[in-house]
Symmetry: C2
Subunit: 162 residues, 2 copies
């Protein structure tokens, strides 16, 4: 009757415990949700998934997410819709400085492209010091690309409003 696959829950619990701070239901649950997701989740999505189990306050979710990012258990991505999205941090706590993301223009899904091979050596004006590089590729994900193409086709036949 556990609402979350035990594996993610246990991994989350372990990760929270390792920080030395308090292991609360809320922290574990939110982190478990992030670990289970294969894409970056908005606060709204996280709140929804977490509240299927017990209840959790909106503000608590915000604060837990803030805590998780400050402890490098998650990282946040600024979408172009003014909404933060969150990922469970990879197991490597070091490489927090060269994220690359893919955002689907159709379904809005954001995934992490961990192969941050690009983004090296961008030419800057003199006097400028680079610290982080954020690269976002936008386009159509594997799920939406065929659908979008089909939609374009049908729109070409009868073009209707709304």
């Amino acid at each position: 009757m556990t609402p979350m696959t035990p594996t993610f829950h246990d991994r989350a619990e372990d990760l929270v415990q390792r920080t030395g701070a308090r292991v609360t239901r809320q922290r574990v649950e939110v982190l478990a949700v992030l670990l289970a997701a294969r894409r970056a989740l908005s606060h709204h999505e996280i709140e929804g998934r977490v509240n299927r189990g017990a209840g959790m306050d909106r503000v608590t979710v915000y604060r837990v997410l803030e805590w998780l990012t400050s402890h490098h258990l998650a990282h946040k991505i600024a979408g172009d819709d003014r909404v933060w999205r969150f990922n469970a941090a990879g197991d490597e706590p070091e490489r927090t400085h060269a994220h690359a993301h893919f955002k689907c223009n159709d379904c809005g899904e954001v995934i992490c492209l961990d192969e941050a091979t690009a983004a090296r050596s961008v030419p800057l004006p003199s006097g400028f010091h680079p610290q982080e590089v954020e690269l976002t590729v936008k386009g159509l994900c594997a799920g939406c690309a065929p659908a979008a193409a089909a939609q374009r086709r049908s729109r070409a036949h009868a073009q209707h409003r709304h």
Copy 2:
């Protein structure tokens, strides 16, 4: 007694006129502000600069900016502070698909790195179709880099809260 350098104002007026839509004081003024700025401006900054002349409603500024972007006279950038910033679009209406920006972590200033040399060929999972690439380099701009270094030094001596 004109509040804006005539050059920018005139260029703005011309650009608006070319779209075929109505040439209003508001559209011209906002575009002139963008043309005059050498960096991306937030809505707040734009509103401030524009209101030094006559008055202009908050909402109108939003709508004008939306209109400008949809007519390719400006483009907007999502900052990591959840605030849109706006640039006058370059004179080339084509290259709307590979922006590169620099955001200063100290003063928050955003400038356009038009040499979008980077961002080519990011490896994507199969089935994914890239459409746009957005690259943001964060760091310290030429103005802030020395100041930030000095601040770090003095903070090392006496550390204080807020």
